[in-house]
Symmetry: C2
Subunit: 249 residues, 2 copies
């Protein structure tokens, strides 16, 4: 591979991440895509092989790519890079795009932070170069740090979305459309573009408004799981903002 040549990239997998990687790279690189089971049509001279399959399937796919001289990288947040070298890969790396991917919702690729890891500087440099083809935010980090970022993203995205689902279910009981919460959700997300979430916090738990909290807990009496979630998160908020913190600081 020459520095000024177009990179040859093979994407293995057909999930949502693979779909969006193909879209993101389609003008900037020579692309092929192969199914993880058969690897049908996989060239043996790609510069980079991106394994974009479920975490449990990474090692199995990697073990069938050991003979290849190209870089072999996975896209997983939680899988350590060592899984690839343990499977016999010669030049392992990681290219982890931090985003929630679904086929139906278009993405601004330039906004997606990408975290890179490589077995040596050459591998990391090349992965950094291909990530920078579409992302404005490419950072190198260790497997451990990447795993922590992934955990943070589960809190920030998956759990958040689930709270909205719980709210949706709660409103459905009174035949109130979920749509009434959308302006609030928009504003909640807009706020933290300007202030940190710690500063942006509002609500009864932040105010230590025990009466409202008690009333809400009463209302969840028929739903023990929701009651538990309400109590636990309210306690966590209250403890983050001690009642007298304004006075004692």
């Amino acid at each position: 591979m020459l520095d000024d040549s177009r990179l040859k990239i093979s994407v293995i997998g057909s999930g949502n991440v693979a779909f969006h990687l193909m879209k993101a790279w389609h003008t900037a690189a020579d692309l092929t895509q192969a199914p993880p089971r058969t690897l049908q049509g996989l060239p043996d001279d790609s510069d980079i092989y991106i394994i974009s399959v479920s975490d449990n399937a990474i090692a199995g796919v990697a073990s069938r790519l050991c003979h290849l001289p190209g870089i072999v990288a996975h896209t997983s947040g939680t899988t350590p890079m060592s899984v690839l070298s343990e499977a016999g890969v010669q030049r392992p790396g990681v290219l982890y795009p931090l985003q929630t991917f679904s086929r139906e919702v278009p993405l601004d690729y330039s906004e997606i932070p990408v975290f890179i890891e490589g077995c040596d500087d050459g591998v990391a440099d090349t992965l950094q170069r291909v990530a920078a083809m579409w992302s404005g935010s490419v950072t190198r980090c260790s497997s451990d740090t990447r795993c922590k970022i992934h955990l943070a993203s589960v809190l920030a995205c998956n759990f958040t979305n689930h709270l909205w689902t719980l709210a949706e279910q709660l409103l459905a009981g009174d035949a109130i459309p979920f749509g009434i919460l959308k302006p609030l959700i928009r504003q909640t997300a807009a706020k933290i573009e300007r202030v940190s979430p710690q500063e942006a916090q509002t609500g009864p738990a932040r105010r230590h408004d025990t009466r409202t909290i008690a009333r809400h807990l009463e209302m969840t009496a028929g739903n023990p799981r929701l009651k538990q979630i309400y109590a636990l998160l309210s306690q966590s908020i209250s403890d983050t903002y001690p009642e007298n913190s304004a006075n004692t600081l």
Copy 2:
């Protein structure tokens, strides 16, 4: 008051909600604002008195407005309208704007859903009229339903924001700026404009990926509260999406 005259509105309180109500109404009504302790400058001929103070202080303020012929309404999500009549108010009502208010962050008032309650149709009609001066979404509902909407908004806004705070704290331990999560948070909020949160759900718990969940739980070993939140929300997600649901449906 004639139907075609400008309404006289008095706002009692100086918090974030009062601040934004004054801004929302400033061109459409004759406004005055009075402090809740002294009620200094409060006219006795307003069509509507809006009590916008902390929930615990509503009854006390209301009891000093009993002699007034105008409508007296509070803006609380959780306080029943009966608190006003029990305090002796003659024409009680509620005008509850569903939004998270802070002084620093500007709002598109037309987007804020408002929930109205009145002791009779006349009161409800007038409150509906003043809410419609700025909001495109005005709905009547009972005190019980409003309380449920408030609970849903705590889940959707306060708890969501707190999860972002927890993510911020987690990343801070590895000196990673919270900003890397912002594109993900933007996309998480953008998704539910198009699909319901129940459909939009992604993540290890949705996939029943017990290995990743176990790894994340290990990482939270030093933070028992976070571990509890992670386990509880992951279980709630897993139970919402049974492993074989695709096959059994």
